[in-house]
Symmetry: C2
Subunit: 368 residues, 2 copies
């Protein structure tokens, strides 16, 4: 098997599917309707707009029919944006869409070596309101709680805040400073930030539990776009607090990794003891220039974090049992394993096939 690709086996593969079903049910309960973009599309459409960030990770294929290059999707969000901007351009805004599917990547990452990843997520398109930012975060939390995630942490970021500060201060080439802020490298900041150093140092320190971080951010002297972005973060935190006072919220305003195409408040969903994040998302602008926010959940992290469900009620139905009896058992919630030929010892055969019970004389007999 190629590196980063593997078979899902029982019971994990069934458990992954059950997680997806419950996530999609949670998304559906908030009015997010499912779309299903294809696994491959033309390269130029797949990698436009927010899709550009995944260009280096995308497998390419030649289409023998059109003789044009196609890409095997490495992310679904850009496809949902394309659907909203094309086939659903006349649907009323805001539009709420959900999706679940597989993505493929040319190379794995250190934290996520898999090259095929199951994703499930939502996009809320056509609104700039803070209530939209809060809605997708609250939905992500409710969906993760519904599949059994405990001790969820929402880490909020504003990857465009530092760039706005640097732009307002007239810094010509802010890239190195943004990277230094992202990795919280005080030395590099001091070396090149000049008179901005105290402000940027304070920004780096405005990290941690949401309430103290927001307080620290409020103490900064910000103007223009930077002040607007800080205010948006504050409003989103307040809306989440009001709806879910039990949620653990942290803020890391300069975190920038993986938010290449985002334009406002972003977030990661994680748990202290779990490697990797459950998902991430935030505000962006889609291919048609519409404001949007959303998130993607990663099934590999969820599978690692959640205990596989208990074995179902498997009952062995010996060869010769009338078919209607097995059908009735299934209707009552049993998993029936039918004997395909006469067995010398039905109980032994039931055990061999992993059953916990045997159907005998019209009764489910528990096997020791």
């Amino acid at each position: 098997m190629p590196a980063g690709l593997s078979d899902g086996l029982p019971p994990e593969a069934g458990f992954e599917a059950a997680i997806v079903e419950r996530l999609m049910a949670a998304f559906g309960a908030w009015g997010y309707e499912r779309v299903k973009p294809p696994l491959i599309e033309f390269e130029d459409s797949l990698l436009s707009g927010p899709g550009e960030a995944m260009a280096a990770d995308t497998f390419r294929l030649m289409d023998p029919i059109s003789q044009r290059m196609m890409g095997l999707r490495a992310d679904i969000t850009p496809q949902v944006g394309r659907i909203a901007a094309s086939r659903l351009t006349n649907a009323p805004r805001p539009i709420r869409l959900s999706y679940a599917g597989q993505v493929l990547r040319v190379k794995g990452e250190q934290m996520r070596p898999e090259r095929q990843i199951g994703q499930a997520g939502v996009e809320l398109i056509g609104t700039t309101s803070a209530a939209a930012d809060a809605e997708v975060i609250l939905l992500g939390a409710e969906a993760l709680n519904a599949v059994g995630v405990q001790q969820l942490v929402v880490d909020l970021n504003v990857p465009t805040l530092a760039p706005a500060i640097l732009r307002d201060a007239g810094i010509a080439d802010p890239k190195a400073l943004i990277a230094a802020l992202d990795r919280k490298d005080m030395t590099a900041v001091r070396q090149s930030a000049g008179s901005l150093t105290p402000l940027l140092e304070a920004l780096i320190h405005a990290v941690g539990p949401a309430d103290t971080a927001i307080e620290a951010l409020n103490a900064l002297k910000l103007d223009g776009d930077a002040a607007i972005q800080r205010e948006r973060l504050r409003a989103v935190v307040a809306l989440i607090r009001a709806a879910r006072p039990d949620l653990t919220l942290t803020v890391d305003p300069t975190d920038h990794r993986g938010f290449e195409y985002h334009t406002g408040v972003t977030f990661s969903l994680l748990a202290p003891s779990v490697r990797g994040d459950f998902g991430r998302g935030g505000r962006y602008v889609n291919q048609a220039g519409e404001p949007a926010t959303g998130f993607t959940l990663y099934l590999d992290t969820l599978q690692r974090a959640l205990p596989a469900s208990a074995a179902p009620n498997r009952i062995f139905v010996p060869h010769g049992t009338p078919p209607a009896e097995a059908q009735r058992l299934r209707g009552e919630g049993w998993v029936t394993i039918q004997g395909l030929e006469a067995a010398k010892d039905d109980a032994a055969e039931a055990r061999r096939l992993g059953c916990t019970r045997l159907w005998r004389n019209g009764q489910p007999v528990e096997l020791k």
Copy 2:
């Protein structure tokens, strides 16, 4: 969008997912456990054994890590066979496995122009018994009934029966005759079958409702392997009849199309008024030489045949409603559409967003 590829939109995409969930639940109730092979694997493993038949339909990709060619699966059955023969080689036999996923094909067919098709199916591996042949057919019928298919027809075939007759008669190159039998071309049969002509003509006529076809087959003078295959078909029909006297069974013993790698009784699941079949399957031998049977259902045909489910209970929850009220409504089965900012006219906004009800003063108000 490339030919044969398309976006699934609401409500169809959600409906397709719901069909898959119900099919997989039916498979699970018979003890079939889910596996999830990857979308891509090395070409030589993907296209070995029963996978060989799909070689011309399979997209190829270069793996930049191993520098080896990979294939994008065009069928899932060979992957499940590989899993049974490798990772699950020590699991007790018979082993019951299920799967659902997407496959991609280089070119569409006339009857099925789609190049990406959703499949769901089962494989029952490690048994030669007639009860296994019957089990997968009965399961296919129960699963299709569970998703709402009416007037299901099971068409049974024995694509290896005519080859066995020709082999027993010492026909050196039977290909042309097998093809003529498949398309029921009496003229071609008469031209080249010699003394076998009366038997092959009778075989072509042994088609139609199962009872009369079996009677016609019984009247044929068959020996050796051909007689064994006829007896197996008879036994499978009897088992299905006993379990599901309501099912419509037809027999077409010389039908050969699409059963390239099969070795015994095969079948198609269809309905009189629906274009294409819901699925097909039958007996084969997997990569490890294990006897197996199973079937694949096609989601495109199912979607065409089944009426999309009714719109859910969408209720508009105006801006400012306490979050706990919306949460409670979702818990009661409502789909809540939250107002993200204050609306001038909540009822108009609710209608604009496709809601049938408005949450007002703690009550769901029906919208005219």
